[in-house]
Structure formats: structure tokens, C-alpha cells
């Protein structure tokens, strides 16, 4: 891990701006808040540890970062890679849910039928608004990792499905299927959580 020295030996006077420890620190410190937020959505309580793993990996391969402007995106990819490797190691990844088990659930229909806020004329929006940020976080963490990760990366982080497939090293078809089931699972868990946490009680709207 002797970046500085390796550089110096290669060519005197050729200043490469992405080379030094100081440059890495600057990039990392700026990126830490966002990395942590993504890590928390992906890994829950293991977030800080995951960010550390990401930073160690990134530091080791910092010399391969060609464009310092792309440093943030580069770090985020390393984070998702580290998360994927961790899942593999823990072998928690095989928790497939049967399609028909979730496929028929419609949150839209369920809310309309159960009518949890009888005095509301926008019952669906009121339902969603009854969730605080931490409630949403809790709902996501109730889902198996293989469904949560594509959902978080697609709809919270805005990555394209192809990019997600690459980062998680899975075939695109697999990611699409998991996204599909993940959305349904998320809907089902939102409803279950709302009932269990008492969000649907009259006047419980926040």
C-alpha cells in the first residue's frame, strides 16, 4: 500500500491528482455521509462496518480511479460490491419468495377495501403519509436482502436495472424478477407494519 512512493518511482515531476493519501481523505470525507445512508438502507445496523470495508477497499485501489470527478460514484459502487460479497459470505442470499405468495397482493386495493381512514378523501396518500422515515426504514429491513437491495438501489438511489445487475453481479433477468417481487413484498410489509405499529388507528396520522 505504498501509493505515494510507487508514484514517485514511476516518474519524477508527473503530478497525478488522484494519487495521494490527502486526495483520498478529501474524497472519502466528502462521500461518507451519502455512503452511510446507502449502507444503512442496505445493511441496517451493519452500516458503519460496511462503510469501513468500502473505504479500505477503495483506498487499496485508489490508483485505479482515473477521473477524480467520478470519485463519489466509484465509492458507491465499491460499497455495493462489498455488500454483495458480504451477503455471499453469510450465505443469507437464498431466501426466494414464491411468486404467487406475494403476486396477488395489491396494497392499493387493500387500502381501498379496508378503508383505514374513513373520514379521508385521499385515503391512499394518508396511508403513505402515516409513515415516518424510520418506519419506512423498518419496513425495508423486514424484507430479505435479495429483494431489498434492488429496490433500494433502483427507487431510492436511482440506478438503472442494468447497472444494478452489474453491481450485484447477477443476471438482469434475476434482478428484474427480484425487483418485481420486492415491490410486492414492500407493499405487503407496508400494510403489515402499519397494522402492527398502530399507524392505522383513528387520528394516528402524523
Amino acid at each position: 500500500m505504498d501509493k505515494g512512493r510507487g508514484r514517485g518511482a514511476n516518474g519524477e515531476g508527473t503530478h497525478i491528482s488522484t494519487g495521494t493519501k490527502t486526495d483520498f481523505e478529501r474524497l472519502a470525507v466528502e462521500a461518507i455521509p451519502r455512503l452511510y445512508v446507502i449502507a444503512r438502507r442496505l445493511a441496517g445496523d451493519g452500516a458503519e462496518d460496511l462503510v469501513q470495508e468500502c473505504l479500505m477497499r477503495a483506498y487499496r485501489s485508489f490508483s485505479t480511479l482515473a477521473d477524480p470527478q467520478a470519485g463519489g460514484g466509484w465509492l458507491r459502487k465499491i460499497l455495493v460490491n462489498a455488500y454483495r460479497d458480504r451477503l455471499r459470505k453469510e450465505a443469507r442470499s437464498v431466501q426466494e419468495v414464491a411468486v404467487d405468495e406475494v403476486d396477488d397482493f395489491s396494497l392499493y386495493r387493500t387500502i381501498a377495501e379496508e378503508d383505514p381512514f374513513p373520514y379521508s378523501d385521499s385515503v391512499h396518500m394518508d396511508f403513505l403519509h402515516s409513515f415516518a422515515r424510520e418506519d419506512v426504514h423498518a419496513v425495508l429491513l423486514r424484507m430479505p436482502d435479495i429483494y431489498r437491495a434492488p429496490l433500494v438501489l433502483r427507487y431510492m438511489q436511482g440506478y438503472a436495472t442494468k447497472e444494478i445487475a452489474r453491481m450485484l453481479d447477477a443476471p438482469l433477468g434475476t434482478i428484474l424478477a427480484r425487483l418485481h417481487r420486492g415491490r410486492k413484498l414492500f407493499e405487503r410489509e407496508l400494510w403489515a407494519y402499519a397494522r402492527q405499529a398502530g399507524l392505522l388507528q383513528k387520528g394516528a396520522g402524523r
Partner: protein, 82 residues
């Protein structure tokens, strides 16, 4: 059989709504969903809700990093061996 004009039931339309919003459907499937939405008010409601759910997920993305975690991670970076 004219594929694009084939009618699909609500269950199929609903199953494809998010992919429809993502523009991830084939042109034929896209046309079938559009065709279905043209006459089905119930599925229009589902579509609106799917949009709301997407926005809901996006709006819950951000989070505050606790100060002590931030400081701890910054120290971690500084101590990476050099």
C-alpha cells in the same frame, strides 16, 4: 391475431405497471397496458398509486448520519495505513 390489440385482464396490467412506469416493457406490452388503462378506471387508480409509491420511496432516501458515526468514520479514513 393482432398482438398489440390483444386485451389483457387487470391482474396482468397491474403486474406490469411498475415496469410500464420504468419504460421497461416491450412496445407490444406497453401498448397493451395503455390499451387496458384506456378503459379501466380501477387500474388507473393502481397506476396513480404506483407513482405515489415510487415518489414515496425516493423521498425516504435521505437520512442524517449521526455525528459520532461521521467522526468515527473520518478518523478511520485518516488512520488507513500510509
Amino acid at each position: 391475431m393482432t398482438e398489440a390489440a390483444r386485451l389483457i385482464p387487470c391482474s396482468e396490467a397491474v403486474r406490469q405497471l411498475w415496469d410500464y412506469l420504468d419504460h421497461a416493457l416491450s412496445p407490444e406490452d406497453q401498448a397493451r397496458v395503455v390499451g387496458h388503462l384506456a378503459f379501466c378506471r380501477k387500474c388507473c387508480g393502481e397506476l396513480e398509486f404506483a407513482k405515489e409509491l415510487q415518489a414515496f420511496l425516493a423521498s425516504n432516501e435521505s437520512d442524517e448520519i449521526p455525528t459520532h458515526v461521521k467522526e468515527h468514520l473520518e478518523r478511520f479514513v485518516k488512520e488507513l495505513d500510509d
